[in-house]
Symmetry: C2
Subunit: 508 residues, 2 copies
Amino acid sequence: MPSEAKLRELRARLLEICDLGWAGAALSWDQATYMPAGGAPARARQIALLGRLEHERLTDPALGRLLDALAPYAEEHEDEDARLIAVARRDFDKAIKVSASYVKRANALGAASYSAWRIARPEDDFASMRPYLEQSLELTREYVEFFAPYRHMIDPLIDDVDQGLTCADIHALFDELRRELVPLVDVICNRPPADDRCLHGEFAQRSQLEFGLKVATDFGYDLERGRLDTTPHPFCTKFSDADVRITTRTYANELSQSLFSILHETGHALYEQGIAPELSGTPLGKGTSVGVHESQSRLWENVVGRSRNFWQHYYPKLQQDFPQLGKTPPESFYRAINMVARSPIRTDADEVTYNLHIILRFDLEIDLLEGRLAVKDLPEAWRARYQSDLAITPPDDRDGCLQDVHWYSGGYSGGYSGGVGGAFHSYAIGNILAAQFYAAALRAHPDIPNEIRAGEFTTLRNWLTQNLYRHGRKLKPAEIVARATGEPMTIKPYMAYLRSKYGELYRL
Amino acid sequence: MPSEAKLRELRARLLEICDLGWAGAALSWDQATYMPAGGAPARARQIALLGRLEHERLTDPALGRLLDALAPYAEEHEDEDARLIAVARRDFDKAIKVSASYVKRANALGAASYSAWRIARPEDDFASMRPYLEQSLELTREYVEFFAPYRHMIDPLIDDVDQGLTCADIHALFDELRRELVPLVDVICNRPPADDRCLHGEFAQRSQLEFGLKVATDFGYDLERGRLDTTPHPFCTKFSDADVRITTRTYANELSQSLFSILHETGHALYEQGIAPELSGTPLGKGTSVGVHESQSRLWENVVGRSRNFWQHYYPKLQQDFPQLGKTPPESFYRAINMVARSPIRTDADEVTYNLHIILRFDLEIDLLEGRLAVKDLPEAWRARYQSDLAITPPDDRDGCLQDVHWYSGGYSGGYSGGVGGAFHSYAIGNILAAQFYAAALRAHPDIPNEIRAGEFTTLRNWLTQNLYRHGRKLKPAEIVARATGEPMTIKPYMAYLRSKYGELYRL
């Protein structure tokens, strides 16, 4: 078979893998949005079936043989097909290393652990989660052995989500970040606190959705290829390059959470909608890594959406839609949505403290994986780190080490979906890269802040599309960062951004 | 392998076939309800993929060998497993007879023909549909050859949807029905016509949906296992025994169409929700035939939903929700929703004229299939039959022989979904059986009309569940009819129903 025919077969196989994943995603979306309660058991079975069929195709020895036959092509060329072969090879090699028995046990533990956590967390019952977490750690240790040898046991987990990064890289990055953040948080929290009462009250939920969707479409979210629905937990999902949907959750008594979650998910959606259409249906047709994906949600949510320039344009419109804000000056609103406070909850954290929540989780994961920290001692270690890094003690485990689902969603089974290790660090990388990409965009187009002040985002979005979105996985994360920003990942733009924005806000 | 293990394997295989079908149905539902326009091409591909995977499993030779091995069990037993084996055998035998090449060509023609019809109908352009219809007839003739020998070439098509019925049966039934209906329509249409102006005006669409859904749940539609959405064409669909959804279309300027379409789809949904849960995930876990299914939509829509007893309870509530009806007396409303009129459009037809629309379509299908009527002469034959049976001439082909999608949705590919032949007769059977089932329920529970007058439907629904719904396909259509009503299908209860209701309404 000539290369052309082999490439056609490869693309056909990869498209079928994509389509099975996308079909499963559509069933999951329905489960989260409109499915009646009774539909749950059959739906879980149907999603699992599609997952199994996808996995069978992803690990099909015939796919391996095809990739073997195409290896010379990939070596001799530097075109898109060569990249496609390389990335497909990587996915195939990783997939076949994990035993079917492992996947089955990990999924089973995942379901059981998640159900238990849904009961244990509100009851502040860490003891009942201990055996699940212990089993999850055991499974994770089993998982990383599939990828031996490795330098650190968390490296294979990191590689699943942020190709090219290692434990050592992240440690170096986080150590530096922590050294800068702890004193910055200290000094900010010694200033008079901001007042966010204007965000509390009664806010029509339909108006919240309409306002959020208006901003999302102004950002460039294409509703011909997307839509917004409401779910208990916001997410962005994709059923093809031309159907990328987002969800949010509205609160009748709080204005900002739903809005910023829409902007966050819009960032993810802009990335997926911006990938070059010719990559669709292949492993190249998605975001290059979880960290880079998070950089886009954070960029649009925070760097743009919580900026003074942005609200100069949108605040009068917000006041129109929510007349109760009529007496709140723009500056008070701006301070409210950027209030810095030491809180025990990661998801409530502001831009300045957020990464401290992440860093301590990453360190605790390492300690758990290495066996230096026993699961039974996790609550105590958690409290100690919150005290040392954030100078607060969580009131209980509910809002302590039980707060995030990630560690309790089971046996690690690859990717973003949970387990211990590889689950949190990408959020911090997202924050760091958001600032780094934005700074690079500004260097190229110094007029971007003025455009944002006019409710115009085309230049920024186009720069991101050209330098980041359109490439999908054709470029590795480090290539994307280096090409787009001219240097490797660095915390400097991020710290400069924080110091500038919060220095002004808190008159440091 | 002992029978127990074989039966377990059979059930596992059949469940996977069901789940693939249901997953595809969920994707189709999303396509009709919420999918953004851009999602269409990938969605069509994903639905086709799931259909192909389902078909591969349905025709898997290993399934055939398993059924062979289980054949002795089915012969020696009379239990549910024996029924399951028999029905699975029937489905398998039918599926393997049709060549993959045929299915591919039929689907391709279906897509092309449907797209062409969407343009040709509004343009009243029958000429452009002629080649599609000719090809469709050719394909249908090819299809029936897979099932040779047969007595009449439409018999295999009928068998796909209404097992046990033949062309001869339906001809006999329809001849009798036509002899009774033509003079009845004549005499009614010579009476002063009813006035349905009260149904026209401005009616809040949300209120229409709420009222319809209230009635649906009063009927017994379980929203823990279902939901109502809006789509251009109403339908009922199913993703498991515990997720049976309906849709409707509302009109801002007409009150009755959306309401009765909700009641119609609710009838289908009650049937599916009423099937014994232990049959779910097997070929027994669905309605026994299209004709019997239609009897349930018609029973709840017409026999119950257009009855005087029903509106005695609901009309005051309808007036509350739609105050513009305040001055319309109950009797005027009742006459409006049961207005008999000769109209060219099947879907607008009342209970009395409706079957005449069906009978003439069935006769024309036979003529087309037998080659006695050329496609080019169809418009003329259509007009002649509308003149002779309904004493009207359609104004054009748009509202003549182009009005229904069925003949233009392609190559016949089994079942309900279109093509020439086997597409229309089930609607008439539904009308006939609705009256026959209802009469039997009344004999068993003479109090049912009083309950309906009180907005109570439990006795009727329970009788239908016991005698019809719960059996799924465990009993054949003729067995269901005979056991539930004590006699074979007959038009007598239907004609008695029409004569009684419309005799009173039109003072005959």
